[in-house]
Amino acid sequence: MKRLFSSISYKLRTVIPKFEEKLKEIPKEDVNFTLKCLVSHILSKDFSSIKNLEDEQLDSKQLEHLERLVECRLARIPIQYIIKEWDFYSLKLKMVPSVFIPRPETEKLVSMILEENNVKERSFLEIGSGSGAISVSLLKNLLNFKGVAIERNKLAAELTLENAKALNVEDRLTVLNEKLSQDSLKGFVDKFEKFDFIVSNPPYIPSRQVFQLQPEIVLYENMNALNGGPDGLDVIKLILELSSSLLKPNGKLWLEVDSTHPPMIEEIIKNQYENRLIFEGVHKDFTGIDRFVEIKRN
């Protein structure tokens, strides 16, 4: 009897309106897009292979599954955690709850670095790798490079390694589960040879703003990946200090930052690193907001 029941399949056309109605409660939600993400996940299909959601069929078990996932979304769990994967720079990366979800803006950081670096055998350092999006996409495109990724969160460090393995770059990536701090700085400087470039998407949101962010972020993402201290510059300052000793001459530091940061960073460099670092410029993200800074070792 039970088996008979589960063999019934449902055309999504008939059940979609119900889910759409529910998901509309979430402000600014692209309801159809969310459902497409969930259904493609349940059916183990590529997102882009689903042309018309309404034509897909689910059996009763899958339908139940969809109901559960819609509830998760209503609880404001980020879609990336629900389906446990997301795209970054044409790569499909595994996502694990609380590990920072790569934002599409950061893809430009990667493409700017790729534009400058090509054939020679070289090395880079990433600080705060999270899911590994930056390091993995760089290694995937820079075949002669080796990378070191530092990540303070154990879960995130493991995820970086896992994504590196899934995309076959783990033999060129060293992942260290360590925290960059005033105390550990000296240790890093002594430990490593100098790098050709350093890259980071550090926590940069000023503390008082952090808890006003949307529930998906506040409730589910690890705040350590976002909270940059009173002015959002805590980790950035550490990275500047580290870069002033760990970059090869003419090596670059690439940072994703808050839109208010670039002039402040320029000021810090002028005051503290005058002979060691040069502020090369600011770059905008695809929405036209100042988002990246490019710094050079003198």
Binding site: D30, F33, N52, I79, E105, I289
Partner: protein
């Protein structure tokens, strides 16, 4: 005469590029003795020798194309001369044995002549072969007739899908704008096969359907249309788009961005300011990918415009408008009430029955398409022949 030959075709066995049956058809249409044809062949022979003596290496492809043809022309000349000679011998010879020998030899030579002429016609056919592209888009748009037109467009989509499958050409339905009751507003099929363009371009135009629609309650017969366009997709579309000419709209444009937000809006809309074309894309989860796809689509659209303008310009100078990929030309009527399909470009007997089989891309449809290709090749060759005579 046409009809007889075509009805004897077994469409599926007629593989692309093998036009032996067509050759047979043509040998009844093109008389090699015809003054125009001889003038044409003579002009080709002249061209070949001229090109070869000047040693113009730029024309190498043309020379190699003509080489086999001229070879046939020369062989044919020799054979005809020999045959004349043998006929003379047979007439003048007194000795009965010798007469017999001359007759036998004539038979051998006529066989050779026939074979040569067949080859010659095949070579002539290659002269009229149309441009081919490695990849193309077949686009179906519902025309006048509302929901009914969209249902018809859906049927055409299925017809072409089956047709392409039978032909064995690689294809993918890349776009499908479905409607609630199972119709399609617009659909695109990308076809990747060098042979396909010649066949598909003859499907381009307005397709008309006459029937009592499912949506009609009072039982009246409606006439609705769907439009088919076939646009080549060059491997590398050489269209430069300036970043400044693009207005890119994303839903993420407001707010602080970066780490501050986690929205999944991946839809991208780009407007090409000089042409006013706008493209929306949400086929992938990631926004930059969608932007990439949107730009590619925009390039295709711009290329399509250029291509159609170019086709229109060349057509204006052409005598024959038929067989073009003019999307405004009414080419075919599907009359369900009378169970017939009529192609308005075929002069003698452009009508076939068994619409049910036709509309799923069955034998009838394939045969009609094959016939269109054949007639088109023939017409183009004939245009070439006439052109060369007019030049004289």
């Amino acid at each position: 005469m046409f009809r007889k030959v075509v009805s004897s075709l077994t469409p599926k066995s007629l593989s692309v590029g093998n036009f032996s049956k067509l050759t047979r058809l043509l040998s009844t249409q093109i008389q090699l003795q015809d003054d125009k044809v001889s003038t044409f062949l003579e002009s080709l022979r002249q061209e070949f020798y001229d090109k070869r003596t000047t040693g113009d290496t730029n024309d190498f492809t043309r020379i190699s194309k003509l080489s086999d043809l001229v070879n046939c022309v020369e062989t044919r000349k020799v054979l005809l001369k020999n045959l004349d000679h043998l006929k003379e011998m047979e007439r003048d010879e007194k000795d009965e044995d010798m007469k017999q020998l001359a007759r036998e030899e004539q038979e051998v030579y006529s066989e050779l002549l026939q074979k040569t002429e067949r080859e010659l016609i095949e070579e002539m056919m290659t002269l009229s072969t149309v441009e081919n592209w490695s990849s193309m888009t077949l686009e179906i748009n519902a025309g006048v007739g509302g929901q009914e037109a969209m249902l018809f467009a859906m049927e055409l989509l299925e017809m072409y899908s089956n047709f392409l499958q039978v032909k064995g050409w690689d294809f993918e339905v890349t776009e499908e704008e479905r409607t609630d009751i199972g119709g399609v507003r617009r659909a695109s099929i990308v076809v990747n096969s060098r042979d396909a363009f010649e066949f598909l371009r003859l499907e381009a135009g307005v397709h008309r359907v006459q029937r009592v629609p499912e949506t009609e309650k009072s039982g009246r017969i409606h006439t609705s249309t769907a439009t088919v366009a076939v646009i080549p997709r060059p491997d590398d579309i050489q269209i430069d788009i300036k970043e400044a000419d693009l207005k890119v709209e994303t839903k993420r444009a407001s707010g602080a961005g970066g780490q501050h937000v986690n929205t999944t809006d991946s839809a991208v809309r780009i407007v090409h300011l000089p042409s006013g074309i706008s493209i929306e894309c949400q086929t992938e989860r990631s926004q930059p990918k969608n932007k990439e796809i949107a730009i590619r689509k925009l390039k295709e659209k711009l290329f399509q415009q250029q291509y159609e303008a170019q086709v229109a310009a060349t057509q204006a100078t052409r005598k024959s408008q038929k067989g073009s990929s003019n999307r405004n030309e009414k080419i075919r009527t599907y009359n369900f009430v009378q169970d017939r399909v009529t192609d308005h470009r075929l002069e003698n007997g452009g009508t076939v029955h068994n619409l049910k089989d036709f509309i799923v891309g069955g034998d009838g449809m394939i045969a009609m398409n094959t016939r269109l290709v054949e007639e088109n090749r023939f017409r183009e060759l004939w245009d070439l022949i006439e052109d060369s005579c007019n030049k004289k």
